[in-house]
Amino acid sequence: MNFYQSGWTKVLTTYHRFAGSWAWIFHRISGLALTAYIFMHIIALSNLQKHKIDGGKAFNEEMALFSSPFFLVIEWLLFAFVLYHTLNGIRIVLVDFANGARYHKQLHYAVVTIGVIAFIAMGYVIFSHQVNKTVAMLF
């Protein structure tokens, strides 16, 4: 007898998502994003090696590129992924090896709250210099 069974993608998209499901989805997305980033990071860094032969030209060019407003925003978003993955990673460790399974929702609210505050604070650190400069230019 052939019984029907829905594929996992259909189940994943139709089953209700609770706080814990979101935490898992964001953790996986941020984990994969960080893995993709680490490769780009290594490639970018290996270019800097050229300073040995070109007297720092490639180094300066790359640094100028990374301090452009576009890359500052990208870095700020990268920080969001690092932040979520780290904070929720700590939450998972507490769930697995402390008593966190009894408080997993409170822990997730804490992750999100601390995350949003740290994200805004980092935004200030990254952009305050630029904003101050722009304001000074205008007045």
Partner: protein
């Protein structure tokens, strides 16, 4: 008050794919979903098929998926759903035999893997004594009625059908942490694998699904800690 039930229908002896059928019903807020299914079957559509036996949350036969969440039909009232449109599906991740009846062969095969029984080599002198404190360790775990709502709700299980699933883990805990069991290692051995306790990614869908309000993830975390202690 009138609600619409949208029920997934499927008959493995003639249908290729499931389809949906709608029923409008006048209901009381205090009616259980199971009462509504009974009325649909008795008054409108005799071929609608679902499991139920005790009707009182004891036998664990009527786990179904209501508006995307696994629940026991006999334990949920219309007023708990808070929707005028109620979507009813069989619990996911298991093959459908007919309508809301799923094939639980695999579920019970995985349950047997963890040796779901008390392992004791010798007969007791009179009774197997257990202190109140020792019994408290398994108070929650013994409440399981094997409805399968948890295992069916688990994304790790949807992705890897070999995962033993939360219900089997809970049963391993129930005996490994029972002071009367003489071979806890035998229960633990069965789940110290990549398809066992380490497949749990602490998603907590099982905890949301369990009609007996068992915190499965907490029990799995106790098992994980035990596994690590064994290695040290």
């Amino acid at each position: 008050m009138q609600v619409t039930f949208s029920i997934q229908r499927y008959d493995s002896s003639k249908d290729k794919k499931p389809y949906r059928q709608e029923f409008k019903l006048d209901v009381e807020p205090t009616d259980r979903i199971l009462d509504c299914l009974d009325r649909i079957k008795w008054d409108f559509e005799g071929s609608l098929t679902y499991r139920r036996s005790c009707s009182h949350g004891i036998c664990g036969s009527d786990a179904i998926n209501i508006n995307g969440k696994n629940m026991l039909a006999c334990q949920v009232l219309i007023q708990d759903i808070k929707k005028k449109r109620i979507k009813i599906d069989p619990i996911p991740g298991m093959p459908i035999i007919k309508d809301l009846v799923v094939d639980t062969t695999d579920f019970f095969a995985k349950y047997e893997v963890v040796k779901p029984y008390l392992i004791a080599k010798n007969p007791p002198p009179k009774e197997r004594f257990q202190s109140v404190a020792d019994r408290a360790l398994i108070d929650e775990a013994v409440n399981c009625i094997l409805c399968g709502a948890c295992t069916s709700s688990c994304p790790s299980m949807w992705g890897n059908p070999n995962y033993l699933g939360p219900a089997a883990m809970l049963k391993a805990y129930r005996f490994a942490f029972d002071s009367r069991d003489e071979a806890p290692a035998e229960h633990l051995e069965a789940i110290d694998t990549s398809d066992g306790v380490w497949r749990c990614h602490t998603i907590f869908n099982c905890v949301e699904a369990c009609p007996k309000e068992i915190n499965l993830t907490w029990h799995i975390s106790q098992l994980k800690k035990k596994m690590v202690e064994r290695e040290l």
